[in-house]
């Protein structure tokens, strides 16, 4: 057992820190630190900076443009980026589709799509969920019928994150209704500008436009956009989900959010003392800190066990998804509590860049309550935490 980073890894950490100090735009880091709204341009700008350094697709193999990092290096990068308030890399193209194409795509697909992911030509979104197919994803109905060189797609996807920005959507579609539900699903890449694709916003409880409904009416998709084999899409989808869930542990993000919470608890006062010294609040903070430390080590253990390449055993990635999201939710909950009465006011414009109205209450108050509400999503998406618990016991019980 050796919990500590090697001298090489320490040196790598310094390299990452120096890069972040040098290249992460202060403007963007400040927006992330203060939970302001990021624009598409902000995210794309950061992706481009990372790509220039060769660190954007940091879990891709070297031959496809990845940096060839070890598991520890990737973890160091994630944590340092989050602590420096870098935006999270938008996962759909680079973290989700990329690995699927690398493993299951044709040579032509890899040659065409991977460079476009790297240089940001295509903004991707994920078309898995449907109104009737959430946890029970395999019951999806959006159909793709072969017609010569094309598939004709009809149906509806929903909850499509940042679909309003997307050039492309990777979809699970039904290509067969025979046999088991899972065996009639295919993995299809669809251009959002194709006639018959319509995107409608869904406003979330915090008032933000983050997700969308995507409707398909007789959308003609070139057959060459089928990934792998017809009716084998479920295998690819599951492969992708292990990447999605491991990313959802979000250790670095939680460390940064916890640091922020500690600062707030120091600056808020209760009964003439810092809130952080109130016995009840201190206990809440301590429990959280202990859990977070446990998560950090568990995350490293899972990463180490899965080796470089990054895909973890299903029940372990399920555990990380649960712990990581619940801890993050608890951090946002405690941050909300820390504000006392000032959790209530909400001036939406205060989250825009360049807003210069006086803050209401402490200057860090504006985004706190909406962050808390928005992060309720963490235990719902990426496979709900109930479903994750089913996965764990199914694997352990073998009943």
């Amino acid at each position: 057992m050796d919990l500590h980073f090697s001298p090489e890894e320490m040196a790598f950490r310094e390299e990452v820190r120096a890069f972040l100090k040098d290249r992460l735009p202060t403007r963007i880091a400040e927006k992330v630190r203060t939970s302001k709204r990021l624009t598409k341009q902000d995210m794309a700008e950061w992706h481009a900076i990372l790509n220039e350094r060769g660190w954007y697709a940091n879990h891709w193999p070297k031959e496809y443009g990845g940096p060839g990092w070890s598991v520890a290096q990737a973890a160091i990068f994630d944590i340092e980026s989050a602590l420096a308030h870098a935006p999270r890399i938008v996962p759909f193209g680079v973290s989700m589709l990329g690995p699927v194409l690398i493993k299951y795509g044709s040579q032509a697909q890899k040659d065409h799509w991977l460079p476009r992911i790297l240089d940001g030509t295509d903004w991707w979104c994920q078309g898995y969920s449907e109104p009737g197919a959430g946890s029970d994803l395999a019951s999806l109905k959006t159909s793709a019928v072969r017609d010569g060189d094309h598939y004709v797609v009809n149906g509806q996807k929903t909850w499509t994150t940042l679909g309003q920005y997307a050039d492309m959507i990777f979809c699970l579609v039904r290509t067969s209704t025979e046999g088991k539900k899972q065996e009639g699903i295919s993995f299809l890449l669809i251009d959002m500008k194709t006639p018959g694709v319509e995107v409608r916003p869904i406003i979330l409880l915090d008032g933000e436009h983050e997700v969308n409904e995507v409707f398909f009416t007789d959308v003609r998709v070139p057959a060459e956009n089928l990934v792998g084999e017809e009716n084998k899409g479920w295998t690819y989808a599951k492969y992708l989900l292990t990447y999605e869930r491991a990313g959802l542990a979000g250790v670095g993000g939680s460390m940064a959010a916890f640091n922020h919470l500690k600062e707030i608890a120091q600056s808020q006062r209760k009964g003439g003392r810092p809130l952080a010294e109130d016995p009840l609040f201190a206990a809440r903070l301590a429990r959280l800190e202990i859990n977070l430390e446990n998560l950090k080590i568990t995350n490293l253990r899972v990463l180490a066990a899965s080796g470089s390449g990054g895909s973890a055993p299903l029940e372990m990635s399920a555990m990380l998804k649960i712990c990581g999201t619940e801890i993050r939710q608890e951090i946002t909950s405690l941050t909300r509590r820390a504000l006392g009465p000032y959790a209530q006011p909400f001036v939406s414009e205060a989250l825009d860049e360049g807003f210069n109205g006086a803050p209401i209450g402490p200057d860090y108050a504006a985004p706190v309550a909406v962050d808390y509400f928005n992060n309720r999503k963490l235990s719902i998406f990426g496979g709900s935490n109930e479903v994750q618990r089913e996965i764990i016991t199914k694997a352990l019980l073998e009943l």
Binding site: L205, R337, P341, Y342, R376, E386
Partner: protein, 368 residues
């Protein structure tokens, strides 16, 4: 022992329920909530006309209610419809005025008639629920009094015509003695209004040599009792909101199908729903106990009130989070009323003392 409302109170509750169902459906509520004013004068006038404001005050104050259970019946009704109008401030300010030895009858009559609205501005930016932490200063002058200081996150303060303000006449922040209560005209005050995350509006009150009329020199006991009434109101509002969340979630568990069955068939959700239902009943009992204690001696009253606010805070978070979770993605949407009920319930936890504050206070009162 009898756990039902009296006939009069039940009639009031039924009437209020009918009115809100017909005149204040959810889409109207959201429109009012997001409007520049953040409340509706029309509904206020009509509800006052129906006696809903009068029910908050005793006969001595010109009303026909005013007990803990009257407050309970009204706020339970308001909570069901997620009403944003300034009932809480009116209740707390009005109750304090009614206790302040006479002279306020004319004002209270206008309040009950719905023509004058009140706000209760007591908490300050630094006070974090500590009732005696009043820094705002009251200084006598030739015309009467002038106030200097700041009041924080006052619900619907812009709607008020008169604002009841606490300010220190003597002593230091933290002293119970020396806190006076004053009336300030909205026209004379500097307000900074803003939307609230759970709907409606709130505001900061800046007092800068602001003229004020003295209502009570020894205000602390009045403030404490007004807050106790406010907590009973919030507790019942919360219970109503929880009931709505429970009903809605049960409906969803019955109708949403995944894996070929209603999701309510999954034991993982059944157990969680059972916990939610059980905790709501405990919260309701705490709210009953607080309503009952409102007319009792200080220690009994304040312990019951703190117990209720602690319970509502703890259970409220649970119920809000679980209702969203059991709905899945749809529970996260603006379009569904559910998310607005969940937000309101969560924010009730931030008003008049949070869970931790009242737990500590309950302990302290036990030692007293």
């Amino acid at each position: 022992m009898y756990f039902h409302h009296s006939e009069d109170r039940q009639m009031l509750a039924d009437m209020l329920g009918r009115y809100l169902q017909q005149r204040y459906p959810f889409d109207i509520r959201n429109k009012i909530s997001a409007s520049p004013e953040g409340w509706s004068r029309t509904h206020w006038a009509e509800l006052a006309e129906l006696g809903v404001v009068g029910a908050l005050f005793g006969e001595g104050a010109g009303g026909f209610g005013g007990t803990g259970f009257d407050i309970a019946a009204v706020f339970e009704g308001l909570g069901k419809a997620l009403v944003v109008e300034p009932f809480l401030g009116t209740l707390m300010a009005g109750q304090a005025l009614a206790m302040a030895a006479g002279k306020q009858d004319a004002l209270l009559a206008e309040v009950i008639a719905g023509t004058t609205l009140l706000a209760f501005a007591h908490e300050e930016p630094q006070s974090r629920y500590d009732v005696s932490d009043v820094e705002t200063q009251a200084l006598p002058n030739s015309a009467g009094w002038a106030l200097q200081g700041c009041k924080a996150v006052v619900p619907q303060i812009e709607a008020a015509d008169r604002i009841l303000v606490s300010a220190r006449i003597a002593g230091a922040p933290g002293d119970e003695a020396g806190i006076g209560l004053f009336l300030v005209d909205k026209a004379a005050a500097r307000l900074r209004g803003y939307p609230m995350v759970d709907g409606g509006r709130g505001g900061e009150l800046v007092l800068d040599n602001t003229p004020a009329t003295l209502v009570a020199k020894d205000g602390f006991p009045l403030i404490e009792q007004a807050i106790a009434a406010g907590i009973v109101a919030l507790a019942w509002e919360a219970v109503a909101v929880m009931d709505v969340l429970k009903t809605t979630t049960l409906d969803y568990l019955r109708t949403r199908r995944q894996f070929g069955v209603p999701i309510g068939k999954f034991q993982a959700l059944q157990h969680r729903m059972a916990t939610v239902a059980l905790e709501i009943e405990l919260a309701r009992s705490a709210a009953i106990s607080a309503a009952d204690a409102l007319g009792q001696d200080r220690r009994t009253r304040e312990r019951a009130v703190s117990a209720a606010k602690y319970t509502i805070g703890r259970v409220g978070t649970l119920v809000a989070e679980e209702s969203i979770q059991m709905h899945g993605g749809i529970g996260m949407t603006w379009e569904l009323p559910l998310s607005h009920y969940a937000k309101r319930l969560t924010m009730i936890g931030h008003q008049l003392g949070d869970e931790d504050h009242h737990l500590e206070r309950f302990i302290a009162l036990g030692h007293a």
